[in-house]
């Protein structure tokens, strides 16, 4: 009776810790999952270009990457975004979040521009509507303009290959 109880309690603790310690509490799921993208209408980063708004996110599967020039992990994931843009399987758009125009432009001039459209969100207000709480964040938008997945933090090759690309392919069918 007693050993069985001890083993049972121990097993429960193992399960709790096994679950709790392997999750990253800093990564929150999007509250907007499976919901339409929020309504936003951002000005372009560079004069003369088109802005970026809600209506742009309909008709095909697209990615929205929230970035900032001051964000170090954004530099880490940048080559992956460049690769995605080059392969052309999916369009990537960017939101320059809580940044200045010269800095965000310099960031893209230095590392390359993977974005089809870029919205400039200097105050971060559009970011709040998206539920952004840090950079980088990447959203997968389906054909109907709904948010289907959110990556918090830099996209890692494993997550790209095992989750993002399969999901994108599934949504494109």
């Amino acid at each position: 009776m007693l050993p069985a109880l001890v083993v049972a309690v121990f097993a429960i603790i193992v399960v709790f810790f096994g679950f709790g310690l392997t999750q990253d509490p800093r990564k929150l799921p999007s509250a907007l999952l499976d919901q339409p993208v929020p309504s936003f209408d951002l000005p372009p980063l560079k004069d003369g270009e088109a802005g970026f708004k809600t209506a742009d996110l309909k008709g095909q599967v697209q990615l929205v990457n929230v970035f900032a020039s001051w964000c170090v992990p954004c530099r880490v994931e940048h080559p992956l975004l460049m690769r995605l843009a080059k392969e052309g399987k999916v369009q990537v758009h960017g939101i320059a979040w809580k940044d200045t125009r010269p800095n965000a432009s310099a960031f893209l001039d230095e590392l390359g521009n993977p974005y089809k459209k870029i919205g400039f969100d200097g105050t971060g207000r559009a970011g709040i509507d998206w539920g952004v709480y840090g950079v980088p964040e990447t959203y997968v938008i389906d054909r109907d303009g709904r948010i289907r997945y959110k990556v918090v933090g830099p996209i890692m090759p494993q997550e790209l290959n095992e989750r993002l690309l399969p999901l994108i392919e599934k949504l494109q069918k």
Binding site: P25, P29, R125, G131, Y133
Partner: protein, 169 residues
């Protein structure tokens, strides 16, 4: 020198706690500002997750404090402001989790553990009352008694005035 001391003492006397809320954020209407402060204390800063936005100096917390004040100025009720933020950031933005099926375990877990402990204690106590012999440890054998007496005798002898010799018999 004395004037300086006085100045320092006065400054210390009137010192206020350092607030994360910056002066330019404060609303002119004290009632609205009071509601904003109250709400901010209930809202989690998503960057430094165990602080409220009222406490946090993170830039996002500042933005959220401003959003809360804008919503209130626009005439939102407290509940509408909370709703506005939970729609964007989920229930996690609330420092006090709402009562929903997903949080039942969180709310009732401590009670469950208490009840389980009480049941365990009750069962144990009843078992002991029904069968006191089985519950108490077996008495020492003669051999064990002799070893115990020898050990106690050896240790007690130099210190105590009366070594426990009586037990040896």
């Amino acid at each position: 020198m004395r004037a300086l001391r006085l100045a320092v003492a006065l400054a210390a006397l009137f010192a206020l706690p350092v607030l994360a809320v910056e002066p330019d954020e404060v609303l002119k209407d004290p009632v609205l500002e009071g509601r904003a402060r109250e709400l901010s204390k209930e809202l989690r800063c998503l960057v430094c997750q165990n602080q409220s936005i009222d406490d946090s100096a993170a830039p996002l917390a500042k933005d959220l404090r401003i959003v809360v004040r804008e919503r209130l100025t626009a005439g939102d009720s407290n509940a509408q402001v909370i709703d506005y933020l939970t729609k964007r950031y989920g229930a996690f933005v609330l420092l006090k989790p709402p009562m929903t099926p997903a949080t039942y375990l969180l709310w009732f877990g401590p009670v469950l553990i208490l009840v389980a402990g009480a049941i365990g204690l009750f069962v144990m106590a009843r078992r002991r009352a029904q069968n006191p012999v089985a519950a108490s440890p077996a008495p020492l054998s003669d051999d064990e008694q002799r070893r115990l007496a020898a050990l106690l005798g050896d240790e007690a002898a130099p210190v105590a005035a009366k070594p426990n010799k009586g037990r040896r018999a």
